[in-house]
Each structure stands twice: as C-alpha cells, then as structure tokens.
Amino acid sequence: MGGDAAAFRHIGRRVPRREDRRLLRGEAQFFDDVPKPPGTLYMGCVRSTAAHADILRVDGTAATALPGVHAIFTGRDLAGAIKAMAADHGKKGFKSTTRDVMPADRVRYVGDTVAVVLAEDPYLLEDALDLVEVDYAELPAVIGLDEALAEGAPRLHPEIDDNVPFVTAACTEGFEQAFAAADLVVADTFTSTRMAGVSMEPRGCMAVWDRGLGALTLWSSTQVPHLLRSALSELLGLPESRLRVIAPDVGGGFGPKAHVYPEEIVAAAVARRTGRPIKWVGDRQDDFVTTTHARDYRLRLEMALSADGTILAVRNRLDVNIGAYVCFPFGANAETGGGAIYLPGAYRFAHYDYVARSVMTNKAPTGVYRGVAAPIAHMAAEGLLDRAAARLGLDPVELRRRNLLRPDEYPHVNAAGIRSDSGSHVECLRLALEDIGYEAFRRQQPEDRLRDGLLHGIGIVCITEHTGQGAARYRARGLHRVPGFEGVVVRIEPDGQVIAATSQATQGQGHLTVFAQVIAENLGVEPEDVTVMEGDTAVAPFGSGTFASRGAVLAGGAAQRASTALADKIRRIAAHQLEAAPADIELVGGRARVVGVPDMGISLREVAAIAHSMESRTLPPGDEYGLEAKAFYDPPGVVLANAVHAARVAVDPQTGRVQVLRYAVAHDCGRVINPMLVAGQVHGGIAQGLGQALMEGVVYDETGQLLTTQLLDYLLPTACDVPDITIRHVETPSADTLLGIKGAGEGGVIGSVPAIAAAVNDALAPYGAFVSRLPLSPETVLALIDGGRRP
C-alpha cells in the first residue's frame, strides 16, 4: 500500500459493494426485466443466411398472416427513416465505408439484418420468423486475410478499391542500422482466433415512442448510453433533447456492448413508425452471430537482440480481419491501431517499425473487446523473448529482467511514442516470482519437464495496460467520435442525502461503490450514505461511457473534482454560520465542524436545509441556492498500468490438454480505490485470457457460415478450469492523473494470454516447440509436440 494510504478514510478500503443486495435477492432490473408498457410488440430479426449476396426478394406474407403478427419491415421499407452508419466519415487517413443499418440490396455477412418482424408474443414471433422467405443471388465471399488481400479479390464495399480501409505505419529513425547490428534475430508469425465477448446477458433493447412529445426512450444493454443517444440522433434525424437512453442493470459488457448496433436503431425507428413500444431480446445465437467479434489477428514479429540479450529493435507487421463493417462509433482502427502502439510495454527498446492494416471480409464485424490488441501483441513479444532465451541459453526471466524498464527511467517515452509517468516492473517481477515459487520450481523441474506423465512448465510475463485515455489520445488515434472525458454531478438533497450521477455506465465493475468512496472521502460521510446513479442520459452528465479501463481514472477524477467543489461550498455555508474561516472547517462524520473544536459544528442536513432555503438561517452572501457541483475530467494522455503474471501449467503429452495449476500476479494500477474490486477485475480478466489461450474461438467455414453459434460449440472456462489466483497490489500513484489512479479493467486478460502461452513454451522446451497460434486446443498442442524435436 502507498505510504499515504492512512490519509484516506475510504479510498483504498475493501468496502463491500452497494450494488449487491438487489442482484443477490433477484430484485435487479436488466433490460428484459423492465416492465413493458401495454401494447408492446416483440421485434425479431431475419438474419442473412448468405455471407455475400444481393437480396432479390423478401416475402413476409405467410409470416404476417399469423394472428398476432403485426408487420414486417425490410431495409427498403425503412430506407428513408434511417441514415447509414459512417464511422470513419471525414477522418484523415481512413477510407470511409458506410453500413446500412438494415441493408435493402446487399448483405455482407451471415447475420446482416434483412427484415424485422413484429409480434405480440415472443413464441409467436419465432413462428413468424421461420415463415419469412428471402431469395438471394450469392456473390463470391472472402473469408480469410489472404483471400481479401489477393489481387482481384471481391470487394466488400463500393467506396474502396481494396478491402483495406485503414493502414497505420511508423518507423523510428535509425531503425535499419539498429536492426542490422543485431547478434540474434528471432521472428515468428502469430495468429489469434476470433473471439466472442460472451457477456452472460445477451444484447437487447426496448424502444418507447411518445407521440405527444415526439420523444423516444430506449432501454438498452449498452456500455455507452450517451454515444448511443448521439447515434440515434444522427441516424434517425431526431434532436438529442428528445432522446433518452437508459442502460439499466447490464449483464456484462467487456467491450462488445460499447458499440452501437443496428437493432437499437431499427427498434427506435419502428417504434416511431408504428407508435407501439418495441422490444428486442437477443438470444445467445443472435449474440454469437451479430455481436461484434474480436481479435482476428495475424502478426509477423521480428525482434533483434544483442548477444547479451538486450532488445535492439522490433518489427511488427499486423493484419486484422475486421469483418464486413467497421464498428460504430469507433471505426476501422479500433483494434488495428492498438496492435501497433500497445506492443512496446515493460521493456526498454528504442527502435520500432510497424505497419498495421485493417482488412475487410465477409465475417461479422469486429470491435473492441477487453484488452483489445494488447493480449496478442504481448503474447507475440513475450513469445519471441522465450525463443531468444532458448537461443542465448539464458533463463527466460533473466532475459526479461535485463530489458525491464527501471523506476528511475520514468517518465519514459517508448518507441511507439507513448509517454508513461511511472512503472514498477522490477518490483512486480520480484513479487510474482516469489508468489509462484519460481526459484524452487526451477530447482525441482526435471530437464525433460516430465512429472507423473505430465509436462510441467512455468511462464512469467511483464505487461502494460493503456488506461485512462482522455480526449487528446482519442483525437490522436483518429477515434473522433469518442469524447474522451467523463463527468460527475454530486448533489445534496434538502434532507441532507448525497446523490451523484456519472457519465459512465456500469456492467458489474462496482462503480456505485467506488465513486461513492471518492465522494464520501471529500464530504466526510460514509460510502453507504452516497447514492450513485449511472446509465440514464436524462440524469447523468454527458460523457463517453464505460470501456478501455477509463472508469476509475476519469469518472473517479470527475467525482474527486465535483465532490471537492461541493465540499468547498459546504465549508463556506458552515463557516458563515459558525463565524469561522472556511479553511478552518473540516467535514467529518456527516458534520461540518471547526478544526480543533469538534463541538462547534453543524450537520450536513442543516447545511442542506440552509442551502435550499428551508429554514431561518441564510446562505453566505454571493452563494447560489442548492447544494450541487458538476465537474468533468479529461486527463492529459494515457496512463500505463503494469503487471507481471506468472502461470504454472501441466501439459498432457498424450491428449494435448493444458491445465493451469497455479497463478500469481503482481500488478500496479496506481492508487487503488477498492482493492477487493480491483482483485475482482484482475480475476475475471485472467479467466477470459485463459479462455482465449486454451479454448475459445469463433469458427467460420470457407463459405462464411458461422459454426460456433451456441455455448455448446464456443467453450468458456468453467470453475474447473480457472485455478485460485494470488494477487499483490503494488501502488505507484500516477503523477498524471487526479488521485494518482490508473485503470485496472483489462490487465488481467492482457497478462494471462501471454503468461499461459509462455508456460506452455516452457513445458514444451524438450521438443523445442513454441506457441504461435491460439487457442491452445488439444489438437494444436499435439501438433506442436509432433512438430517439435522429440527428446
């Protein structure tokens, strides 16, 4: 813990969550639990069964003939009512493409929405969807990267003459000389299977049109209520003042729910058209087919080192298969740009050359997913370190240690131009090695790695996490539709109760607790006395929403600003009554009192009554009525959290099964607001990375049909797959952010993917085999063993 932790009463404590009670008692309200208004119609989507085709005919006659089925709308029917999405329009360096929310003429992936059907009952809706007939004229489809990049390949979009809407490239000066000076070059091509985010709650929404007001309310399982409202306004031509988006309880997000989806726009358009409340409940299959996928990478990485293991230069050639449309509102570079700039992390190297391309294919659109490109970028870099260590005859940890940035090298600008104010790699490495028992493990590890018929390996990796990105970073990355800042309003009601609203939207991160801790800290009350609200654009200040490990940094900072401003006003009011100077007033235990004279004070309730002119005493001259403060926070750049992950695995050489036996992580997310909740974020991230490393994968066949459409096909880790996890919190407060907070949402997944791969590399050392492809399914592992040198 930081040395000044004692100065805080609530920040840094293991405060149990405010949000748990309703969730545990079955009293939460996810969008599908929100009582539906009378007259609600269920909307179902007719999905394209062809990967690339012209729509010849959509016939809903039989469907609409069913009693209780109200209507069918095709893209043509709604053509005038919805503008096309153009996430990259007007952005320099991008070739802009458009997406028809509901295509009228051409479908570009299996899952494009061809029509929507409205019915009174969800069971009836399923019957009706089965009766809709669609005729297609199939076009050649491109599925893989090489097909899409080939000369004369079918073009996905008429606006661009190739299938590459975005390329980013940079090379440090003197790169070639540095690379040429190497004693050793290690290189490999790494691929990562497509992933699905798989929040346990599938997506869904409910749109209610108020004819009298000409206003629309949309409940949606979204991470970005304000961005969704802006999109509704832009695409439907409605003023934002007459649009309200509410994200109620949301059952997991992880990034995919940070996009704006066709169903949200169509449900709103159809509610406006019909005047009826419209509800769309995505099922698991819909979710696999249409929710953004992620991580479809091929990364060719070369690393040049000197004989002593010093990294001299890294060359990165990254292609990302982003699917049929660019994700909205982020754009074509969401993952691709990250794959370039996230790669230089914990290690010191001056020379970096990258070219990263987004490539469009007839697969589902990809988008942001926890960790974005960092897990695979770090897996590739760490994988090359493992190869280099083997070639140099060095212990893999020793090689890493030689290249780690030391604390005295900060602030540091890395080879991708990313500035970081602090890092604790050396300390995290020491702790993680201690907790995993590295020295003892190595001493006892047999040369052939075999014990009880299993190959035992250990993997240690050092990673960074780009967190707390503000407006300047999003502009620099060409993500112009992301505002980048966050806002918080804190108010004390006339009865003295504290209520706050933030521009974030929570999907389980514990916002209602951590922001209450920050506010309580400044107002001298208990966290349980602070009610935090999120997700409702009618209540909350404008902001970006929840993604990219920004919540604690940005909304935490805004909460700090707003609550200190409110505390100042409370001090002025109290000082006026107590005939003291505001600077001599402290806020403790729900009271404003004179420092050193605890008996001289008034309660927050009294201050609130005065501020609302509900008693005889008056405000100090010049102060406004009410007791409310609003603040925004936009940090200067990006703040890098860091971690060292340590995994021990056992590989069965007969079956290829990989089991993670032990796991330890030492991480540093700066000032910790609530260590229990940070640990929860780390645990969950590690489990998702374990899934990516060992079992998860979206699979398309060569014609573009999605084969993994159920949880029976797409495997998630269970309680039997994830071991207990040892966590150490190292706190190096950031000098660049308010309160010194760094983000913590993604480090778990960023670290566990490379850590498990490194542990498998170690287990397979006798075979000289190295991981280059995920997931490490039994077949992949057996192929590695068979392809390697037999001991």
Partner: protein, 164 residues
C-alpha cells in the same frame, strides 16, 4: 397459431399459482412473464450456462429446458425465495462479503447450485465446490471469489448448525 392451454398448479416459493398455459411455454418464461418474477435469467436457452437454474422439488434444474406443464404439481424455488423479507441468507451474505458477483446476471443460478451443494455436502472440498459449480458459467469473476464465498458459506452454515 391457436394453441390449446393446459391448466397447471405450481407452487413457487411456497405460493400456489394456478394458470392456464400453452404447452410449449418454458418454465423460465412462466416465472418471468406470467408471474413477473424476473430474478431467474436466461443466458443461453440451451441448458449450458446455468443462469436459469431453479429448484424443482428440491433439486436444481434448468428452467430454460423445462416446460411449465412439466412442473405441474411441483414445488419451485427461485432466487426470490432464498432471502428473508429483509437482508440476505447465509449464502447470499457470503457472496456479498467475498465479492463473488460482478454484473450479477449469472448469480441467481450460482446461488441455487450452491444451495444444492451445501444441502448434500455440508463441508465440501475445493474440488467438490468447483465440480458442483462447473455447470454454471460466469464471465466476470473467474470463479475465484465464488469458490471462496461457497467455502465461507459452508463454514458459516456449519457453525450455525453446531451452535444450535
């Protein structure tokens, strides 16, 4: 598509409910749509994720794979029936104290599975806990704190039983 309706008598958390339901109505939709008890969630509708887990006559079951008519004459227990009027039951309390839930969508299923486990195996090993919960998927917690919460709940329930 007109459907015949079938009369069912189902007791939910001790309250008898009589309804006429279509034969294809799933138990989970009976709970959620007919009774407006929305604590039980649908995560996959294929019986894989366990979010819809309820107890039928004291045994856990997937309410997304069960027709309401199959539950005719049965006692159903859902998450809404676990806690006392106010507060939390010992399992819920342990989940709260150990931060064993994040988004909370899967949580009702885990609570039901934990109750079943602890009623049969009051002092489970870590392996027994993991095996018992392997039919419930959670995407947020990595199960680490869920396992710890179940261990704590077992200890608390054992202490309570001992104290009496």
């Amino acid at each position: 598509m007109p459907e015949d309706r079938i009369a069912v008598r189902i007791s939910v958390n001790g309250v008898p409910c009589e309804r006429e339901v279509p034969p294809r109505l799933l138990l989970v939709d009976f709970l959620r749509h007919e009774l407006r008890m929305t604590g039980t969630h649908v995560g996959c509708a294929h019986g894989v994720c366990g979010a819809c887990t309820v107890m039928i006559d004291g045994r856990t079951a997937r309410s997304c794979l069960t027709f309401a008519v199959q539950a005719d004459g049965c006692e159903i227990r859902t998450v809404e029936g676990l806690a006392p009027e106010e507060g939390l039951d010992p399992v819920q309390q342990a989940f709260h104290e150990h931060h064993a839930l994040q988004c909370g969508y899967c949580t009702p299923g885990f609570l039901m599975a934990t109750h079943q486990l602890l009623s049969e195996t009051p002092d489970p090993s870590e392996e027994e806990i993991r095996t018992a919960l392997a039919g419930n998927l959670c995407r947020c917690t990595g199960y680490v704190n869920i396992v710890r919460a179940v261990q704590a709940a077992a200890a608390r329930l054992a202490g309570d039983a001992h104290g009496r």
